[in-house]
Amino acid sequence: MKLDYLDQLESEAIHIMREVAGQFERPALLFSGGKDSITLVHLALKAFRPGKFPFPLVHIDTGHNFQEALDYRDNLAERFGEKLIVRYVEDTIREKKLKEPTGRNATRNGLQTFTLLDTIEEFEFDACIGGARRDEEKARAKERVFSVRDEFGSWDPKRQRPELWNLYNGRIHKGENVRVFPISNWTELDVWNYIRREKIELPSIYFAHERELLIRDGKLMATAGGVIKPEADDQLVTRRVRFRTVGDISCTAASESQADTLDAVIDEIQATRISERGETRMDDQLSEAAMEDRKKGGYF
């Protein structure tokens, strides 16, 4: 008997989550309402039911999120009866008098790091489970499953712990924390195939719908809630689109699509010649090492 690859990936992810539960005192699961963290919640159900999750769900809300994702987030927490903690970038900006980026393509995405680190301190989280995948980006391809951060939240790629077999070492000093990535070895397509197989419900913005957008630098950006202010040369359009990834509105582009079912979305992803982040994330394209530099600063 040989396990299918999705079963193997699922089993590995459950194992990693249980290692977090077994090794840490105050873990958290970072939950944004996007497909990767939704998959994590589903894996946590498999890892810990009929017990409760040994961690709360934590969302760092930039204030620029899609309403559909927020509604989904709140419904999910209520449906599963798990604890949800939300902290707002807005509050951090006010309390710490942070300077918000301005101008064209300004995004609060980078400011999330400050709120995240404050939240880790506030609750003394020693491990944060996240939905990062190694196929997303070249700096993420280098990251361990248990990734130790110093007290400033900083990742040092040259000081990573060797990670052997399925033995994970989560021993840390007080003040340090570990980012844990149970779906490191999954690809975008694996996540979608798993969602289809397990019949996991997703926020509606992942499926084709009509929406008002503006075209900027060749990308379709949502105008939702006035987060992005149209400039003189921006063209306002209404298109049928879906979102391939659900991040901060200010740096997440939509794809034109007719795919309004899971099968159709998966067909589209299988046929595409553009990577997930390449298509949708403005923030990775600022420089060759944009993601690596953000991670060194404490970004997820």
């Binding site: 396990l3 553009i274 390449g278």
Partner: protein
């Protein structure tokens, strides 16, 4: 569809990054925007041509130095199989990273430069593959374009390597002549080497039979092992008596009704139920993450090992092991560390170093009392509590262990457990 994890070993000059780039490029696993990004980067370096190696060096300092420092993971699939490429650096100073990368792999590609034949690093990488128990080796004889695609050169290297392999614990060796730069025999068959009738690299990767995680077929090699990770006890009114042991089957099969033993206590019971979430199973196999329920109340917590009673592992406080030392601080006789095997941790002290292994000549060096970063050695450890394990060469899942530094908390050593000392 199944999954193959393989490691590529070879120094930067052997063309390892180019090989991975070629494999991804010719199997159409590189997306247009990623290709554009490396085209841009290639141009900015005045290299002229697209440098496929840029696909794999993800860190700023790697690109600056043009070498691979740490392990990276790549993913691709064909209609036949899914692949995880473990891209490990080949330099001697990164031996520990290669050990890290090799620990989960079922196959290793050892690159050999056709101009130089079996070199020091070929010997080193093959030794690591052998120590880590990787069942399949592909000797990729690369840069055939630089030796006129000569069949004689290829045959000579095969003979050299077969000699070397005799001294190691490697069983399935496949030789493929190729040019990663030009794409000969990587994905597409070479027209320049009509004398080679074997498979291309990709064909081999797609069809090689992976049997190291087989379960149940040879019980002696895959006895039932279940390290307990976490105890699920809801303690609610309706689930008052629920007590499930959560873990992953790291070896073998467990069935309902099996007689089991809990180590280290030695208490026995039988399996009452096996479940994943709400689904009840009659049997579960490696590598499934499940919850076990036992027929009787036994005191079990994280760190315990549940085994099938018919084939018991070794339990001992003095163990002999092959060690790869991974820290800049020296490993010394008398030092104390934390040893982790499965989910159990115990303190241990270094009793002796039986010998150090010269990783280039395979000679055993006696009279050593300390080890430096990247050294390999056979060592004897004394543990505070008995540990339960199987010999690594029989069972990778329960024979691999790590050493943790108690003050820095860093993982400092990889252990392949051999037996009771």
């Amino acid at each position: 569809m199944d999954l193959l994890r393989f490691i590529t070993a070879g120094s930067v000059d052997d063309g390892k990054s180019t090989l991975i780039g070629r494999l991804l490029y010719d199997s159409k696993s590189i997306l247009a925007d990623q290709l554009e990004a490396i085209e841009r980067a290639s141009k900015s370096r005045d290299d002229g041509e697209i440098d496929l190696a840029l696909l794999t060096d993800g860190l700023r300092s790697e690109r600056e130095q043009g070498i691979t420092i740490d392990v990276a993971y790549r993913y691709f699939q064909t209609p036949k199989r899914k692949f995880i490429i473990v891209d490990a650096p080949g330099h001697i100073q990164y031996t520990r990273n290669m050990v890290t990368g090799a620990s989960n792999c079922q196959l290793a590609i050892v690159l050999v430069d056709a101009r130089h034949g079996v070199a020091e690093q070929t010997r080193r990488h093959s030794l690591i593959a052998s120590l880590l128990g990787i069942p399949h080796i592909v000797v990729a004889i690369n840069k055939m374009d630089l030796v006129g695609y000569s069949q004689n050169v290829f045959s000579d290297i095969c003979i050299q390597y077969a000699e070397l392999a005799k001294k190691l614990n490697v069983h399935h060796v496949t030789y493929i002549p190729m040019s990663a730069l030009n794409g000969d025999n990587v994905v597409d068959r070479s027209e320049t080497m009509p004398w080679y009738e074997g498979q291309t690299l990709l064909e081999h990767l797609e069809t090689v039979v992976i049997d190291d995680d087989a379960n149940g077929e040879t019980e002696d090699h895959h006895p039932g092992r279940f390290p307990v990770q976490y105890v699920i006890r809801p303690q609610t009114a309706e689930l008052h008596d629920y007590r499930g042991y959560a873990g992953k089957i790291t070896s073998g099969i467990f069935r309902k009704g099996d007689a089991i033993t809990v180590l280290p206590s030695g208490e026995t019971s039988t399996i009452d139920a096996i479940e994943i979430a709400e689904t009840q199973l009659d049997e579960a196999v490696t590598p499934m993450s499940v919850v076990l329920h036992l027929a009787t109340d036994v005191d079990i917590s994280r760190g315990d090992l549940i085994v099938r009673s018919d084939i018991q592992p070794i339990s001992s406080q003095t163990v002999e092991a092959m060690l790869c030392w991974m820290d800049t601080k020296e490993f010394k006789v008398g030092n104390k560390y934390v040893l982790q095997v499965g989910t159990s941790r115990t303190r241990c002290s270094v009793r002796s170093i039986a010998y150090q292994l010269n990783i280039n000549t395979y000679e055993e060096i006696d009279g050593v009392d300390s080890l430096k970063l990247n050294d390999l050695a056979k060592v004897v450890l004394r543990t505070a509590q008995p540990i339960s394990f199987d010999p690594y060469q029989k069972n990778r899942a329960t024979g691999g262990a790590i050493l943790i530094d108690e003050t820095s908390n860093v993982t400092v050593g990889a252990l392949m457990l051999v037996g009771e000392a």
